[in-house]
Amino acid sequence: MAPPRDKFGRPIVVVTGMGIVTSLGAGKADNWTRLTAGESGIRTITRFPIDSLKTTMAGTVDFVSVEPFTSIGLTERLAELATDEALEQSGIGRKGDFPGPLFLAVAPVEVEWPQRMELGRTVGKLDIDYDDLLRISGGGKFSAYHHRFMFGSVAAHLAESFGTKGSPISLQTACASGATAIQLGVEAIRRGETDAALCVAADGTVNPEAVVRFSLLSALSTQNNPPQAASKPFSKNRDGFVMAEGAGTLVLESYEAAVARGATILGVVAGCGELTDSFHRTRSSPDGKPIIGCVLKTLADAGMTPENIDHINAHGTATPENDKMEYLGISAVFGERAKQVPVSSNKSMVGHTISAAGAVEAIFSLLTLEHQRIPPTINYEIPDPAILFDVVGNKARDARVTAVMSNSFGFGGQNASLILTREPA
């Protein structure tokens, strides 16, 4: 039997439950089948009109509905679905009584347009300003909006539903949020504060203003037809990411606690690391140092070297900048091995689930370890000659995989990486 602590003397952190929802479907089984078949979840947006938009497709989760519709309400529902699945698999605690804290990655919350327009209609004037809105907002008619649009509302709801312990944390580190939620759980278990942590990341924010905002930053692909071909990580003709929705939940436990209760161990979070880029609000430092530093910190945290990593689940957003910088950073650390390690981007199929991406991709990485099969990067027809990764292009590849590095690099200089393994080292 492996020792219950890692080589640094810390409790080993294992995964005993996983749940996932993406534009490909609900649940691990559906997602894995479609992901390894190279199917795309990207489609033309039908949730709202697409007139005047430069980007008209996204990886929306259209098979889940909430009433009345809000992006934050959908986010909450996706989080619940993923968490239900993860808890069922884990079998930890009792229903509504999870024995540990909640770490939730969630998009920033704002009053949304349908609700703002409802306020406008209530004003009943032709020229409306915020003083008018203020006059009609009180008195209890819109009290549900207060609750719905509090930043902490999703976490409070999940904490109550699943019975997590203590103060639930809602966090935001842009595209790295899902990885940060896992990292917070790993740290809490390593500190010995808890034997278990519920790490959830959800994003249901494909709405008109969100699409416009990313569009105005020129971050989105505009290759709308066909939508399935828009997300082209590592291709020469890539032109941006595709917004998407989804959720991922991981039940983390100390190895000791998981073994003691006879839980099935799905994998190990062997290492995590983060390093901030202070170069620019949306761009990476041209020298790649923050990405290099993030990857090195993660390897050090896991007590590993690049030789130990046999698959990279790339951030791979398909923006011209990200993919170039990711290759630069990885090749600086991995040297020649950067061309030999199979690399893939789940975002080619599920799009960029933004606040959820780090957790969604950690789950796909763990499924890769379980099935010893690497999901493809679809739409890889014209490789970028400047990116010399061994991209798993278009078709899934069977491979011996013992350790996966999963990267998340986001706006605001947020870089985070995870290393996931099958067995305790």
């Binding site: 020792p3 219950p4 602590r5 640094f8 003397g9 009109p49 007139d51 005047s52 430069k54 920033p108 919350v109 704002e110 703002r116 327009m117 306020l119 406008g120 020229d127 409306i128 915020y130 003083d131 809105l133 203020l134 907002s137 009180g138 819109f142 009290s143 207060h146 649009f149 509090m150 930043f151 902490g152 976490a155 904490a159 109550e160 203590g166 103060s167 944390i169 966090l171 935001q172 580190t173 940060t180 917070l184 740290e187 390593r190 500190r191 504060e193 416009v212 569009s215 105005l216 930053l217 983060e274 390093l275 901030t276 202070s278 609000r281 923050p290 706006f411 605001g412 200089g413 947020q414």
Partner: protein
């Protein structure tokens, strides 16, 4: 390898070595301290009438955010926060120290979403005039939104701006969730340092209370204080909070790290605890606060409490019931003096607690209801209390270093 090996032989002592305050009472520790001692409060009852706000005291932004380009990339809440963060780094003596800043961890409590009121108003007016064509909203947003506004709305871009302007770039985590986000930021940063997962951290938050979009959000729940300013403890019949503008940041670090670089501490951050009361029935919050109090560690009689009570009901009365059970502790409410600064209220309380300990006096009582009593001895223990207007409760113990 033996099973008894641990990475963290014992909890490390954590010191508060830097405080940065930029509030409605002024910028810097002296200006805020003087105003508190003079009983000065900065309230604006007119600009947003009938709503009351505590407006940000003007600062020369260039002093902490030298590049105009950086200032332009932010909205007010980010400028306030980036400014106050710079003050905290100055206070700790680490400003410009690339070695330390490059590995400094940052845990920030933030809201976000500052809106362009003119764009929103124009769209709502056009809708009222019958423009309901499909894609109308898209067209207006595509043409009217400033591209950079998004970056000023994103919650994690306060941290992003602090990294860019001040070079704090070890790690960066942003917590959301209104008041208790400020508690959890301190709680996680402290836990990491105490366990040896971090040496030094910047924690805090910022809030711009002079925003009609925020007033609308809180008006949904009838939370805004209207018409007339009263101290927090005198609002039972006239409940609500007056939004305040403030940035409050602290540098905290392990005792060993502080000693090695010769840093002088304000106080020790001994404990931070938090919970989520169900708030299903009367007394829930009072009971939660009692449980948190019991977890803080040994408390000697005759200490002080700095409360972030909002003035919203019924939760402020619930907190008061808890405070009355600890009447031997001199209590001060930051809400009376600074307004309600939401995510920032708890870091603000931490800053004032550490400052009071360092200056050997709790700032004077200022409350006609008698809830605040005089304290004549130098405080050696101050409990900071943060209770969310809608959810979340937390406390910290700040102590003198003997």
């Amino acid at each position: 390898m033996t099973e008894t090996t641990t990475a963290t032989p014992g909890p490390t002592e954590v010191w508060i070595t830097g405080i940065g305050l930029a509030t409605s009472l002024g910028e810097g520790l002296d200006a805020n301290w003087d105003a508190l001692n003079q009983g000065r409060i900065n309230v604006d009852e007119k600009t947003f009438a009938p709503y009351i706000v505590h407006p940000f005291a003007r600062v020369s932004l260039d002093a902490q955010i030298p590049k105009k380009g950086d200032q332009r990339q932010m909205e007010a809440w980010q400028r306030i926060g980036t400014y106050a963060a710079g003050l905290a780094l100055d206070s700790a003596g680490v400003k410009g120290n690339k070695d330390i800043l490059g590995r400094m961890d940052m845990v920030i409590a933030a809201g976000g979403g500052e809106r362009d009121l003119a764009v929103d108003s124009a769209i709502l007016s056009a809708q009222a005039k019958g423009n309901s064509a499909p894609g109308f909203l898209n067209e207006r947003l595509m043409s009217d939104l400033r591209p950079t506004l998004f970056l000023a709305q994103l919650s994690n871009l306060l941290a992003g701006n602090i990294a860019i302007v001040h070079g704090v770039c070890g790690t960066s985590r942003t917590f959301m969730g209104e008041e208790v986000a400020g508690v959890d930021a301190a709680r996680i940063a402290l836990a990491r340092i105490a366990a040896g997962q971090s040496d030094i951290a910047l924690i805090g938050g910022s809030h711009n209370g002079e925003r009609k979009d925020l007033l609308v959000l809180y008006e949904f729940g009838d939370f805004n204080l209207k018409d007339k300013f009263t101290p927090v403890w005198s609002r039972q019949g006239h409940a609500g909070f007056a939004l305040g503008s403030a940035g409050a940041f602290l540098v905290i670090e392990s005792k060993e790290h502080a000693l090695a670089r010769g840093a002088k501490p304000f106080a020790r951050l001994s404990n931070v605890v938090a919970d989520l009361s169900a708030r299903n029935k009367p007394g829930d919050v009072t009971a939660t606060l009692e449980r948190l109090w019991a977890k803080l560690g040994p408390l000697a009689s005759g200490g002080a409490i700095i409360s972030g009570a909002t003035g919203a009901e019924p939760v402020t009365s619930e907190e008061r019931a808890f405070l009355q059970k600890h009447g031997d502790f001199a209590m001060r409410a930051t809400g009376t003096r600074f307004g309600h600064t939401m995510e920032t209220q708890f870091p603000l309380g931490l800053g004032l607690a550490a400052l009071s300990i360092a200056r050997g006096a709790l700032f004077p009582a200022d409350d006609p209801s008698g809830a605040e009593i005089a304290m004549t001895t130098p405080p050696s223990q101050i409990v900071v209390v943060g209770v969310g207007h809608a959810q979340g409760e937390g406390m910290a113990l700040v102590e003198a270093i003997k």
